[in-house]
Amino acid sequence: MPVEGLDDTGGQAPPAIALRGVVKRFGEVTAVNGLDLTVPAGICLGLLGANGAGKSTSMRLLTAQARADEGSIEVLGHPVPREAKRVRALMGVVPQQDNLDEELTAQENLEVFAHLYRVPRAGRRAAVDDALALAHLTGKRHTRVDALSGGMRRRLLIARGLVHRPRLVLLDEPTVGLDPQVRAELWGLIDGLRAGGTTVLMSTHYIEEAERLADDCALMSHGRVVARGAPAELIREHAGQRAVEHHGPPDRLAEIEALARAHGLPTRRTGPTVSVLRAEAITPSLADKLGDGVPRAATLEDVFVVLTGETVE
């Protein structure tokens, strides 16, 4: 149910997010460079890019904590920054940086934000309890944040952004720096949000995270989207179904790359290996020339490297 009194869109659901030609410069640096991005309501969109691709700046533009130099931004049907305050009431933000108040308890942190998000007094206690339960921190409600583990803090950070049950959640690198077990826990939490119908925009530079959680991915490089689609579609379109990894000395790898490219097949170099993508299109004669390799499924990471020339973790 939309937040009462704030849905004045006439009942027709607009895209949750629409950015058109957005440019953001910081002095000489152009962090976002003509960004076009539409996020339909109810999906989880993974914004995938290397560090410095413009993901976090794009997130800040959506909350009007950064102001675009060019272009237009609409969130939940409202123009930003003109109606930014209204938009921020409807969405939750989980920043990359842990900015919980360490001197307060988990419950106190949530109470402050329940106030700021305008959760009505009558429902505030329940909102805090629900958020604590969601983050599996009910038993830690009176524990100061500086005594919580890294995973608990990250869960609390997510719970803080959900305390008012927003329609849209911005997750900026939600699992960065966490160990695999905690990451898997958080994936369960994010999955639950998506399953409940909340629109999620999640920036990440973890390929696996995007593949695991996102309905749709937008690959960002140098401040713009270079490819967009469901992970499987992107892989099929840009990297084919399979890849073959070849190991060898640099001269041999260069030879393999040249052979593959001469036949119109994209390649990807990773240290002492080169992967020939769209391996299903390798002819028997080309296979003889390429020699033995290790077959594997093509991945989103292949797509990213092929399209941007950059690497992500």
Partner: protein, 272 residues
């Protein structure tokens, strides 16, 4: 961990459209401050109460033994009323400087708050009103101590918290503005030594400004703390309506100017 919060059951938030200035963010900021205060009220109260009391006792007894009266006042009464201004200055300018710098630069608390339906001017209002309210209460301590040493109670004393509030409002904002200007937290040394200390010394707290050279007297007129000290003395010993209207005007002007500067500084630092 599997639980999600379905959008269909979204918690209902504010019905009316959000206005440009709302009290809800101010209350949210105060909730944050209050939670911290519950933890640190002992140390904060100790510093806020004991420091001006030391000034009062040291100057009151020290100088008081050399100089029994100043004008129509006993020296200890003169200092007791003057130190209210010192207390208002210290309990506002330091939290303004250090708390806002730390929350903005190290803790990123303001970034978190501004991702909610809170604008910079509401955040600033919440912070400075908390500072001023706390300062208004703590600044009365010197009067209580002076009363223990013979200062006669008067009805005008009830105005002292209001005067301290207005003063602390301006100086709290000054501190917040300074926190947006300094390149690092160490640079506060320049602000403290170069601005706060002179303000505190030439405000007529420990000696009348009329003993200063003419140019220094003129400068003291531009010192908001001087207007605070004069107002407190007049409230305690007898108001002088026309003069005091001027002092009130000076404090309000100071507060308005500092609001504009602090708001501009915070916006520049927090909104990219």
């Amino acid at each position: 961990m599997t639980a999600g919060m379905p959008a269909e059951t979204a918690r209902e938030a504010p019905a009316p459209p959000l206005r440009r200035f709302e009290l809800a963010p101010v209350r949210g900021v105060w909730r944050h401050e209050f939670a911290l205060y519950k933890r640190y009220w002992r140390s904060q109260s100790f510093a806020a109460i004991v420091e001006p009391t030391f000034f009062l006792l040291a100057f009151g007894y020290g100088f008081g033994s050399l100089m029994a009266v100043i004008g129509d006042y006993r020296y200890i009464d003169f200092v007791g009323t003057g130190v209210v201004g010192t207390a208002a200055l210290f309990t506002s300018v330091f939290p303004g400087m250090f708390n806002s710098y730390i929350r903005r630069v190290y803790q990123h608390t303001y970034d978190a708050m501004l991702a909610t339906p809170v604008d910079v001017h509401e955040l600033l209002a919440g912070e400075v009103l908390w500072i001023a309210a706390k300062s208004a209460i703590y600044s009365c301590t010197p009067l209580l101590v002076a009363m223990a040493f013979g200062l006669d109670p008067s009805a005008g004393m009830l105005l002292v918290p209001l005067i301290a509030f207005a003063t602390a409002f301006g100086f709290g904002l000054f501190g917040i503005w300074a926190s947006t200007v300094v390149p690092s937290i160490n640079s506060f040394d320049y602000v403290i030594t170069g601005v706060v200390t002179p303000l505190f010394l030439v405000a007529g707290t420990f000696f009348p400004v009329t003993t200063l050279p003419g140019w220094a007297q003129a400068v003291s007129l531009a010192n908001p703390l001087y207007h605070c000290v004069e107002l407190v003395r007049h409230a305690v010993f007898g108001l002088r309506p026309l003069t005091d209207l001027g002092h009130v005007g000076a404090l309000l002007l100071f507060g308005a100017l500092m609001w504009l500067l602090a708001l501009q500084g915070m916006r520049k630092r927090l909104i990219g």
